[in-house]
């Protein structure tokens, strides 16, 4: 076996490895990217009810209703312009409460209600999820002195409630 031929074999092996990886990655990106929407985006863009997606905003004051022995949570998420009804069954993160920022992952129901599978909140009361801060800035509801994202918040691992 000549050196040239051997090199050709290994280059081909490398290329096929990369090819397989590219195919896997593209396929996975197609199915598994989770897009973020603010409540206003959600109304405007209508992403449909089949895809998993993330929404975020502030938990509207006075909207939180707990039922089923403290397991079920119904609340509204707002970006100041649009409200979105969200329901979640499970245990909420320690800092989940009215007036706080929240990011929820789940699916939009046909009735326009978002059913969350996962709620994300950082273990830091000053923390505002970046997507939420962005969405609030766009809707003009951002008050940085009240809800400044803590610098270095990435140090604290994200705590999330997964049912």
């Amino acid at each position: 076996m000549t050196r040239k031929r051997r090199r050709l074999i290994f280059v081909l092996a490398g290329m096929s490895c990369l090819g397989i990886a590219t195919a896997l990655v593209l396929n996975a990106f197609d199915d598994n990217l989770v897009f973020f929407y603010s409540p206003t985006d959600l109304v405007q863009k209508h992403p449909g009810t089949t895809r998993r997606l993330r929404i975020g905003g502030l938990v509207e004051n006075g909207s939180l209703v707990t039922s089923e022995g403290g397991k079920r949570f119904d609340f509204k998420v707002t970006d100041g312009k649009t409200d979105l009804a969200v329901s979640y069954v499970g245990v909420v993160p320690a800092l989940f409460r009215e007036g706080q920022g929240v990011v929820a992952e789940g699916k939009l129901g046909p009735d326009g209600r978002f059913s969350a599978v996962t709620l994300l909140a950082k273990h830091d009361e000053k923390y505002m999820p970046p997507e939420v801060a962005e969405a609030l800035k766009r809707s003009g509801e951002w008050r940085p002195d009240q809800q400044a994202a803590a610098p270095g918040a990435a140090d604290a691992p994200q705590a999330s409630a997964r049912p």
Binding site: M1, R3, R6, I9, F10, A13, G14, C17, L18, I20, A21, L24, V25, N27, A28, F29, D31, N32, L33, V34, F35, F36, R54, G69, G70, K71, G90, V91, A94, L95, E105, H123, D124, E125, P130, E131, A133, E134, A149, P151, G152, A153, A154, D155, A156, P157, Q158, A159, S160, A161, R162, P163
Partner: protein, 660 residues
Amino acid sequence: MIAELGHFALILALLIAIVQSILPMVGAARGARPLMDVAAPAALLQFGAVALAFAALTHGYVTSDFSLRNVVENSHSLKPLLYKITGVWGNHEGSMLLWALILTLYGAAVAAFGRNLPPSLKARVLSVHGMIGVGFLAFILFTSNPFLRVLPVPPDGQGLNPILQDPGLAFHPPFLYLGYVGFSMAFSFAVAALIEGRVDPAWARWVRPWTLVAWCALTLGICLGSWWAYYELGWGGWWAWDPVENASFMPWLSGTALLHSAIVVEKRDTLKGWTIFLALVTFSLSLLGTFLVRSGVLSSIHAFAVDPARGAFILALLVIAIGGSLVLFALRAPALRSTGSFAPISRESALILNNLLLATAALTVFLGTLYPLFLDVIGGDKVSVGAPYYNATFVPLMVPLVLLMAAGPMMTWKRADLAGVLLRLRLAFGLALAVAVIMIIATKGHEALAPLGIGLAAWLLFGTLKELADRIRLFQAPWDMVRTRLRHTTRASWGMSIAHAGLAVTIAGITIASGWQQEAIQTLHPGESIALAGDVYRFDRVEPLPGPNYSAEQATVAISHDGRTFATVHPSRLTYPLQRMTTTDVAIHTDGFSDRYVVLGDPQPDGGWIFRIYYNPLVPWVWFGALIMVLGGILSLSDRRLRIGAPVRKPKRAGGELAA
């Protein structure tokens, strides 16, 4: 006063690092021995200076010196002593100082143990290592100085984030950094070899043990991190494909590839360019991880823009280190001559395939981690990439890797007999198949992944055992001969077998733990119980539990099976008044095969408490397997051939040099 001493020592370390990066390099280029000899004492001094700075900062924390801004922001006088010490690296500035300490520790190790290295190579290695030191020490001094004072001196500190007040944090970052930063050694050796234009087996014999040290530490660091997340964060999981986790996993993957390709360089004097490339990539990924975690880009691209100095500084370091080393590689790698030749079916080829698969796997993790950031930077949609992506990309690449892992060690160098190897593996294959079939029956065919995962784990375990048995000719030769062969089996090959078996244990743990977790969430009043996975969890009572810097409520839960109580656990809920934060302290009962995981939630208005209970089968094996891998690595490290390092020159020649 002591803080100023530390600050001064840090500046001194930077100056020493500058000298260390320039003089030996010039000396090596000109063949000037006195200049080259500056390297070793400089590396030792640099380590001493950084160690002094680190000790000074630790002193500030232990004595609660609130005139230091860093201590004020991250400590509190009521904090237990252990967390005062671990608090030193529980924050940005302190953890960068730990980074620098470990970097200089590795440099000092080359200086102290590298007596057998060719002088020019040693000078260049330490010079490159000095350059990395310059970058990071300058980063600390100019953007993240832990020794800044604050006036007026506040009466007390702001405390450490409560979830970081945990023994797990004491050991996770140091090991992670020992691993991360340890790859700087391979990087320095690779750059030095490119400058020298020479890579030989002696070079690999030096690089391999240091890579192995880094690999062991990183494996342990990732394992501890995953375990800490499991018992501290309270969501019952142990790996979330979070960017912070991926940041440490990418160097692990390419470091594992490097570990294997360095063997080929050492034993067969080929695959040099690729090994050098891997060494550069592995440390680059470590730097990338540091950038991701330390610049704040993960919490938000905008946080990066708010405090651009730190992020931009690390980004510049990243560009210089990666760009510079890759340009050097492009210029010099074609000059590296390989002598060994081999057939497409041989151990060399098996190791190349291992490398290709590991590198590709690292690439998929890389894309999944960075694509959301990339999309955000160019102003596109906001997306997140979660576990489904990695299950669809990373896992399929691991299947051929594990299939190969059992066969690879049986292949001979240069040219292997594939049919013969497969024939030797027929029993392992049959056993693995049987295990997979049993799993299919046990799950009634509803699960596809579980039989595959367990089958692969069995294949790897039995394949590894068969290779070991063949090596010592167990059941094939008289007992005396087996004993002799057993004695002559090197520790390095024991290490390989043990590490591979460890991975089999981890795969089994991952498969079962992710497929069979059971969960219950319910509000309980004292005296009530929940049934889960055949066990009954009875909630007895809640009591207040005072702590040094928190107040807590502790529940008592009795776990019974068939009416027989086998464990009583105490999950609790801690409130830190200083940070106005509540954390949960999970109670875990483990028997080595499965975990009962009890989390105390919020009190309810009707006097009940929410409980979240998980049954996690085989989850401890995830970490047992990782520990077995580390054990294999350590055993391999203790091998005499590796300990000696580069071969000692013949006394005759040394004498000749002296005479001349």
